[in-house]
């Protein structure tokens, strides 16, 4: 795929073409390709939205259930300027984000620590693996009512749910990453004089880092799921509550508007995570050229 942008076709240049000319032609081809990709991305989105809008207005689909882009945009505008029926949108968003972020941070820290600890200790891993397997087999969302019963309608129950959503994903990857650490590298560190703690800190954890990061990417999304499901089941604030209320009043536009907000937030978080990862992983070989 990526090669297409810099492919210099045989026969495209006469003998005697200078390097500068070849490079200029390649740069032009790359630019052209980027523009084509962007054009199609935007076109498909616009086509989808227009089709939706037209289908709803012509009542090919029932706008009562499917809403339409213009109604969703209008609802988003109302929410941001006038606030929702349950108070300002920003406060709801803030509550959901607070729950997600706390659950994400605590869940991933716990996942990393326990994953690394069990990865380093075979005996403990053998003993606890069965319990982790058992608990992991529980679909996490069924815990929502239990957490709300125990921890109440506030922050704690949503954080707990986000935590369990995140913990197992991160735990598994940290554990696997530790197990996959290169044996020669470990032997090298030990002969160079590393103590057990130094070995864990400066060899095992960094080498498991790419595994751990892979899990962090998906697990922020999981933290949001945890928070929103918790809000569905019982809460006073949050995006989940907005969706629930929109559902109760058959306000399709409101439901889609809430989904759009969550989408934007999740994409933003993903972007931030990629930035942090790129900064931390500058030791890794870079691909020769970028697609985007």
């Amino acid at each position: 795929m990526t090669d297409a942008a810099i492919d210099i076709r045989a026969g495209a240049f006469k003998p005697g073409t200078s390097d500068a000319e070849i490079e200029a032609a390649a740069a032009k081809a790359a630019l052209h390709r980027r523009r084509t990709v962007m054009f199609w991305r935007v076109s498909i989105l616009v086509a989808f939205l227009v089709l939706w809008e037209v289908a709803a207005r012509m009542t090919w689909i029932d706008p009562f259930f499917y809403a339409m882009p213009s109604a969703i945009a209008q609802r988003l505008y109302e929410w941001t300027t006038e606030g929702t029926s349950e108070g300002p949108l920003w406060y709801h968003l803030y509550v959901t984000m607070e729950e997600s972020v706390i659950g994400f941070v605590t869940g991933s820290v716990a996942g990393i620590i326990i994953g690394v600890a069990l990865g380093r200790n075979r005996m403990a891993a053998d003993i606890f693996s069965i319990y982790i397997k058992v608990i992991n087999s529980i679909p996490r969302v069924v815990l929502a009512p239990i957490f709300i019963m125990i921890l109440g309608l506030g922050l704690a129950s949503k954080v707990a749910l986000a935590f369990v959503m995140v913990f197992f994903v991160v735990f598994h990857n940290a554990f696997q990453g530790v197990r996959e650490a290169d044996r020669a590298m470990i032997a090298n560190a030990r002969i160079l004089g590393a103590s057990n703690w130094q070995l864990t800190r400066s060899v095992i954890v960094p080498s498991a880092m790419s595994w751990i990061f892979a899990s962090l990417h998906v697990s922020f999304g999981f933290a949001i799921i945890g928070a929103i499901v918790g809000e569905f089941v019982g809460s006073r604030y949050g995006i989940g509550l907005l969706i629930n209320i929109a559902k109760g009043s058959f306000d399709a536009a409101g439901m889609y508007a809430a989904i759009v907000i969550v989408m934007v937030v999740a994409l933003g978080a993903e972007y931030l995570m990629t930035m942090v990862e790129d900064r931390l992983a500058k030791w890794r070989p870079q691909p020769l050229h970028e697609t985007q």
Binding site: A184, A187, A189, W283
Partner: protein, 269 residues
């Protein structure tokens, strides 16, 4: 004091090493293996592939312990990892997330040296292997030969009295390998460490070593020992064309060939 100076650097006395295979079978890697490495001596160990050459090194480091027999380092039995030992691996054992200088500093920092001291020592060793310009590069940005030089600096910075090398240059191309031989002999002549160099390349063994051990096809035991009386300093690139080198090669190869054939026949069966 004088007594201590005269004990050999490494002694393996009637050592055996057995493994349990994943299916629960007992496999013997080494059998009645006896070898002595004097202080400052450069010993090469050659043998057919998979005969247990690397096992001998792991016994000396303390990463593995013998099933029978005794391993002594500097006159004392091996207990755990000895800080006087340095090890150069066959595979790339550098830490890829650390820059070149951070890799070289690793040993002194693990051993509790202060950071400025470790940095100064690392700079010195990088200069000695000719990589001063690459201090802040990451391993993936270097060629195979350069990475091996970083590995040498990383090992030599700890001032090892015993240097164990497990086919360290086998992944390099032939020209780079000869350059690395020169580099190794130069660094070794400055430190006078005792070296055990495991390889499957007989010419490499003869060009570098004072003594060549030929091992039998697994379970490995010592088949014969040859002293190599080629004058030092040696120029590795040229030495292979000298008559005495060719004579050594021919004699030892005749010996090694039988074992290689045995090993091959066994693998084919």
């Amino acid at each position: 004091m004088i007594q201590e100076k005269t004990t050999p650097a490494i002694e393996l006395i009637n050592v055996s090493r057995r493994f349990l295979s994943p299916t629960g079978k007992s496999l013997t890697a080494l059998r009645d293996f006896t070898m002595t490495v004097e202080r400052g001596e450069f010993v090469a160990v050659v043998g057919p592939t998979g005969c247990g050459k690397s096992t001998t090194l792991n016994l000396v480091t303390g990463l593995a312990s013998p099933s029978a027999g005794e391993v002594r380092v500097m006159g004392a039995p091996v207990k755990g990892i000895d800080p006087r030992i340095g090890f150069v691996f066959q595979s790339d054992a550098l830490f890829p997330w650390r820059t070149v200088i951070e890799n070289v500093m690793a040993g002194p920092l693990f051993r509790g040296k202060a950071k400025p001291e470790a940095t100064a020592a690392a700079k010195d060793w990088l200069a000695r292997v000719g990589l001063s310009r690459f201090e802040h590069h990451y391993p993936h940005q270097l060629s195979g030969g350069m990475r091996k030089r970083v590995a040498l600096a990383q090992t030599f910075i700890n001032g090892p009295e015993i240097l164990l090398m497990d086919e360290p240059f086998s992944a390099l191309d032939v020209q780079t390998r000869v350059l690395m031989h020169e580099e190794l002999l130069r660094l070794w002549s400055q430190t006078k460490a005792s070296v055990v160099f495991v390889t499957h390349d007989l010419e490499e063994a003869i060009a570098l070593a004072d003594k060549v051990y030929v091992l039998t096809a697994g379970p490995a035991t010592v088949k014969s020992v040859y002293s190599i009386d080629l004058p030092r300093p040696r120029v590795v690139a040229d030495i292979r064309y000298e008559q005495s080198f060719i004579d050594y090669s021919r004699t030892i190869w005749a010996d090694l060939k039988e074992e290689v054939e045995t090993s091959y026949a066994r693998a084919a069966a």
